[in-house]
Assembly symmetry: D2
Homo-oligomer: 363 residues x 4
């Protein structure tokens, strides 16, 4: 209820600041007797880890996760699972440059107005380090969903340069540092990012998450719709400014006969002839792929000097030094996947509670 | 928790189907001693009411609201406020045409797969009639927020035709049947909608909501961010497929030095030099105008025949007769305003609980 | 979250004041396709109805319930079920005697200090009329639990006079106006109540609720224990001052070897040799009968004059005229049953969500 | 929602098993800028620590708490506060004796039926070690409440031997190993406990918690009453079987004119002439002392052999060796105080959110 937890039945609560001794989360509601160990979680964290290419921050964090409760002899027990990551190199830094000043577009200002105090070291609680715990929770959500559900993400736009959807190839995603499903756009993105980095600037991105194998029937009308909860989940990621489901904003330009996905019965199953709905009708999954997209603004901490103010109420110029991601959107891919996984796991449990089974026309 | 309620401290729960005897809601958590009567609520409902131009459904509903609890001698008592609207002309209709068949893009199919049963009369619970209760709750949320907060909405795009933002004039909004802030686009929209209506088609829209006077400090990091809750609130409205805050998806195309809103101290107050953030940083309001936008897909119930299936699992053509809005987005304006009001009222109470006051640099 | 709702997955929210036009509730989370009509609910309300003997208030309320949403063609649809009871004879009364004064032991004083306003007519929201909606929600909870679960209540003490548990006979409960399982105590209770009534006084009672057929495994450690939620549920009933599970306070006087219920395997099933635990261990049901008990204080509205104060801060004598129950505990029996039913239904759904099945030693 | 968290606005979630590497909790919703360090928490944990007399378990745990987030430069920041205690000597023990068998009256059986798996080492999640985190959260709740609110507990009965309330002396509580407010009963309790311990048995207790300085107006009618939440909070403590507020079960034996606490205005303030209500009317605090009582059953792990069963479904005799508290009720005093503190802090924040201020007759 107080803002640092997410989900109803599959619920995780995170804690920790960028430069505190450790960050962690506790996940309550995980079904018992699911095989689980750190090796189920670490690979997802490794995908998010900084320093894997010149296009992400050069900070070194190995982000090694430890399970400290809720697992016994390799199986979940149904009791809360607590995860911890120790922060490294968190001490000895010099924060005088930002201690008293607010950067344009940065959460520091908002935290101060709300609380009258802020942990300014590395962004404190507002740091993207918090997202490690989303990724970890998402790894466990995937275990709850089972292997039939596959959740994959890709970057579909960097700056103004979008991919060509005709060239979409999931295999390509793991082969370039941008998680691009279109290999031909990669060279263009490299140039764009290198230019931004050299200029001391930064750039935005759009990420798409696709979940296949999602059973029909997940989602609660009217307010806890599956798409509403996905929108909240993705908008809650740092720097996100927009969320779309299926055709998204493009749906506004469509005609009614184009927008509604037609249906046929084929081999005794329901087949949709398109997926403008993004797999969700009336807030409930239909069995199609669930498709969500979100826009990430450029990193606010840049080397270019900008007009800001101080805690004391004076006008200043602010230029941020240090190792920041020139495009935080890139590392948001595993975070977006994780949030989608958590929403789906939560709604799977909710559906089991109220309905148990699902229904297919003709059966 | 079960999907039909919204908000934490200012929490409303709605009930009722399109063709049941009545629809209603109960609003819990309203502060005591606020003057309140039906005349505070009815005008907002009247704005949403159908049949006010040829561009909305010709159904006749006077949507007269009654307060049946929680108000004593003209003042709220702090106990739950229940509101009721009686449905009219709900009986005697012939639903054989849709009883056994699923329309493309309609929630009926999803309800059936989830529950194995559905009230097919007029969309049942999935009907846009449910949104009357959002508007009613929003009217009370406005009272909780007080007069300093103003929440206004406008249609900024119908089909592919967007407004010219240079011509934005709030006074224009009430003077045309489309809530357009740009009078010059109105003729184009009329032609577009008339064409769609005559073709038996429908079209989508984009709506923008602007809240001014919102105090800084509202919103809970990390998951219950103000923008995350707004995204959920707006995505929960029927037919919405996308939500943006501030610059939204356009933020992805910006450079860092363009995106972050610069700040100056002017006359002892913080002044932002732009508002790409839409009034929210790190999930917390900054005191700027809160700006949200959402995309509404075209009405799925259209006269043009489309491929659908039956409950029994057979392929059919479906063409929907009856009085449907050719562009449901138009009547979504008061609904979007209401949802924004409810989110703000909820977060205002949450902020008062934890923090009480807010802080300004230099003070 | 704001105090007028109960339960997590099976969640009901009530509204309405004693002398408002109607009272109602909305129940969210009910599984779909359960046959339901008013005839499933009305009999339980009739058991609670006043005026059925000279030992309860002579007020006339027929408490006729109407289902106004969530049921279609005789079956639940999975959407919220709204129930309404119209209040009768609510107008034209004279409340000048209590409008400005606080009765000792009455909620009026507390409401005023909290809200600075109160609906003084008949106790407003604090009236026992609110419990009609608990009984109605409980009737639906019973349908969710199914016929295998039986929930019965009895009065086991009135004033200082307890029953003889050796004479416990469930059949007796329906044959006397006190819901006593011990017929021989009835005459003593009659004399006690008649004396209290004649003296313008009132008396307290202890009620016991027994749920049999409750599946093992319900309840969430650590905070949402089944017994903790039962304690909250029963303590939330008007005038309740104590709650016990199983042996209750007597457990404090037992030795360890007496308190723990021994177990044997008999015919392949677990058999407990006693039930001091009241069917709950570690907050989780064991398959034994769930046994809870609660104490109800005497009605605070009595004819005997007592020292109270006015809203204006003056000392007064207060004597309450009117038709009050001399022993509200009697009519609390169906209310207690209903609250137990609601807690069990909620935890049944919660258990299905997380665990699905239960385990028996040796199987 | 999943059972391991407590509270709405002041909400804590605990995790960890008796013999895991560490136990911890995260407290969300704490107001910012409250001075806080480990020295505010440790003294309360020290009061609960085992091994301080021969009447508690001789296990050695120093229960040293560390704050790992949410505090910056000695002040709370408004972000979640995470606390950790490392378990000691948790390894190398031999659990073969209980690995496959269920003790009468122990939670192990219920966990197995619910989850099909259990961490049997030292009771796993059901261990009383979990209560360290309640005490730690309670210490922070006290800081939220401020110094004007004082919460004290005492043992008022051990086995069948109650205190003489006429001899109540708070100063006595800290001077004997039983937290007894009546020094003269101490010798009797010593004899009773020594006898139980020597016999390999155990005994129960009744604890009373008194909170003074509680502002009027806390508590939410109708379901989240202050007394209902206290009942849940106290019943959620391991081994508790009954909870009373004020006169409790004795209220059932009173006459109406005895039960309701009379009021007078004295020196411009409201004065109650008795406190049978335990400081709560209609679920709302009145400004009187809040008085709650709870009964703790005898420890179920005893040396006396008793009839139990195995996981495999066979009948066995079970006698528990090891260092168990002969009367867990004694160490429940600081736990009960902590739970009361947490309930009051939560309701203080809730009251501030909705009502802000309170009202006094005549003012």
């Amino acid at each position: 209820m107080s803002g640092n937890g997410f989900g109803q039945l599959f619920r995780f609560t995170t804690w920790g600041e960028s430069h505190g001794p450790q960050i962690g989360c506790v996940i309550d509601g995980v079904p018992p007797r699911i095989p689980l160990s750190e090796t189920d979680i670490q690979p997802w964290l490794d995908r998010r880890r900084p320093g894997q290419s010149r296009f992400t921050t050069q900070r070194k964090e190995d982000d090694k996760v430890t399970i400290v409760s809720g697992v016994f002899e390799g199986m979940t027990t149904g009791t809360p699972i607590a995860l911890i990551i120790f922060n490294q190199d968190a001490r000895g830094r010099d924060y005088d440059a930002i201690k008293d000043r607010f950067r344009p577009g940065h959460a520091d200002f908002a935290y101060f107005t709300k609380y009258g105090i802020r942990d300014y070291r590395g962004g404190g609680r507002a740091s993207a380090r918090e997202t490690t715990m989303r990724v970890a929770a998402g790894a466990i959500a995937r275990k709850v969903l089972g292997n039939a559900v596959e959740i994959r993400g890709a970057v579909v736009q960097i700056g103004p340069h979008g991919i060509d959807r005709e060239r979409w190839d999931w295999d390509s995603v793991g082969r370039n540092p941008f998680w691009s499903p279109d290999e031909q756009v990669v060279a263009k993105w490299e140039r764009h990012l290198d230019a931004a980095r050299k200029a001391g600037s930064s750039c935005g991105a759009v990420i798409e998450i696709v979940a296949s194998g999602v059973p029909a029937g997940l989602g609660e009308p009217v307010y806890d719709r599956l798409d509403a909860d996905l929108a909240k989940a993705l908008m809650s990621i740092n720097a996100v400014k927009g969320v779309e489901i299926g055709a998204g904003f493009k749906a506004a330009t469509m005609a009614g006969e184009e927008s509604g996905d037609e249906m046929r019965i084929q081999d005794g199953a329901v087949k949709f002839l398109s997926n403008h709905a993004g797999g969700i009708l009336g807030g409930i999954s239909t069995g199609q792929e669930v498709v969500a997209r979100f826009a990430v603004k450029p990193t606010s901490s840049i080397r270019i000097a900008r007009r800001g103010i101080t805690v004391g109420g004076e006008n200043v110029e602010v230029a941020t030094q240090g190792r920041h991601d020139p495009c935080v959107g890139i590392r948001a891919v595993p975070v977006g996947e994780a949030m989608v996984a958590c929403v789906l796991a939560d709604h799977l449990l909710r559906h089991k509670a109220q309905c148990g089974e699902t229904f297919t026309p003709g059966v």
